[in-house]
Symmetry: C2
Subunit: 352 residues, 2 copies
Amino acid sequence: MKKMAKLAAVLMAAAFTTNTLAADITLKLAHTWPKGFPLFATSVDEYAKLVNEMSDGKIEILVDSRNKHKAAFGIFDFVKSGQYDIGQSASYYYGGKEPDALFFTTMPFGMTAIEQTAWFYEGGGLELANEVYAKHGMEVMLALNTGQQMGGWFRKEINSVADLKGLKMRIPGFGGKVMAKVGAVPTNLPPGELYQALERGTIDALEWVGPSLDLRMGFHKVAPYYYTGWHEPGAELMFFFNKKKIDSLPAWAQSVLRNAAKLTGYKASTQTFHASLENWATIKAEYPNVKVKDFPKEVIQALKKANAELIAEEAKRGGLTQRIVESQAAYLKKARAWTQIGDQSYLNNIAK
Amino acid sequence: MKKMAKLAAVLMAAAFTTNTLAADITLKLAHTWPKGFPLFATSVDEYAKLVNEMSDGKIEILVDSRNKHKAAFGIFDFVKSGQYDIGQSASYYYGGKEPDALFFTTMPFGMTAIEQTAWFYEGGGLELANEVYAKHGMEVMLALNTGQQMGGWFRKEINSVADLKGLKMRIPGFGGKVMAKVGAVPTNLPPGELYQALERGTIDALEWVGPSLDLRMGFHKVAPYYYTGWHEPGAELMFFFNKKKIDSLPAWAQSVLRNAAKLTGYKASTQTFHASLENWATIKAEYPNVKVKDFPKEVIQALKKANAELIAEEAKRGGLTQRIVESQAAYLKKARAWTQIGDQSYLNNIAK
């Protein structure tokens, strides 16, 4: 057997040297974003490259952006049906198809990026997500954490809860539900349509991400109030795998696909943090008229109350939903106690 | 050629199935820690396992702990000389061998974990570290970030700068230099000797890590004052590679070793954050007599002043040292501006 392995190694080396070995496995991936969209889409391109490198050319992933498949919010169905083998999108876009999908991107007043990442990997969060997605024949993995998202760009200043009544705002996920409960009119739009909607006043406000991705969208030109974040303290994008497909692959290929996804998830989060600080420096320097604001206390209290009521309502579904809600609440409590004597104490009392 | 590759693949598959293929490449790794030491050592064991998995059994890493090689702080020389191919330790332990090594673990009043990780990967920090280590025939990669470290365990309360005069404290790296400048007597001891030294009063205080690793050391039994952190806001362990050795390996093996190191660095940091929050919950519940304190403002101001003076002094070496100091200062400034309107604003004003 050893002899055979050596022969195999020699033949493999020869094959690779001449670089003519076609991929053994070809997989199709669809993501939500425009082609080449910074971070969200480029990190997927990097994933495909990493998988190819880590598999020594044996796995090729063909990436389709929304420019190709035309269905920004079709990723869940694409992967569930097997039309695509892999997807990348945000879980909370699919609350209409699977109510528990809402919990696995970020929660208002919830965990920060590091807290939530630890919950996913070490606190049972990813297992819960996969219990949910198994019902749809999928497996999910973390793909990119945006870090703290800003509360969004507003054409007018928000001074009270009354100012939110009837406010048309692009805000998806659980944050959108909370906004609706306090009287706003939330909507979701694909990224390509956001600027025009805000400029024309089709919407009065929007949240997109934060400095990392907001700068290039140009929102600051049409909406000068930039509110700090409350609703997405660490939004996680997800890789979606068709479970039957990935489980049918040889063990080495599964290992490459999963390990490369993990590394991409981490790497893309670091890149996004970097883009945030670079772009925030640019915004401050080049657009001094941007007004950074915290929402008034009254508004935060109203949002917090609406959020707690909505979560309690969801938890009433019991079973898996209740376990998710309880797991998040328990982890948040423990994680925040550590954050408080760790980073928060340092930032507030020591390093300032 | 395609035929040959297919034959090779068949033979490889046969060889792997029977699991009798010996590793093609065997590498020796030495780390600073006792065998099985949580996180710091176990993450290295996980690295070896990951490399073996990602290389389909073709790379085996033999891990020696300090129990075997007996030289906790000998990693730099081991890898430089080629006695070991890979090492894992903290860069700042080797300031005596390479003064610029001090800058690549953590700096007092410096960047938090996420800020520094972004500096290393996206802000040029790792390139600077590798400029330094290239002079010693090594390449370094991130291995584990401890997150915010606590200021340490003290047998007596610290009420003024005067209380630091003559205080014998285990505190390595740049933090130790700062402590010396304000009158304390810093020392470094291997982890296995810390508890006894503190119990017997050979030292009056020590900093080790934070809840993640302090709990099992038992320090709370002999020193009830637990100070919040100032000196190690995000300490990074490093993998050290013998440059000649890693560069001599085939491209696929280099890729596995580097990608697995990157993934391990991230994964181990998440595991450490999780251990911190779990152990902090345990300390609060089981040892209610532990007194968490911020250092008094006067003490922080004195430490900050000493730190700034020491960094300015180091920077006078010019050249690479100055570039490192300037790069860290510039990145810290930008990163902190983002942290302030991002996570800090959220923690202080919104989520509380």
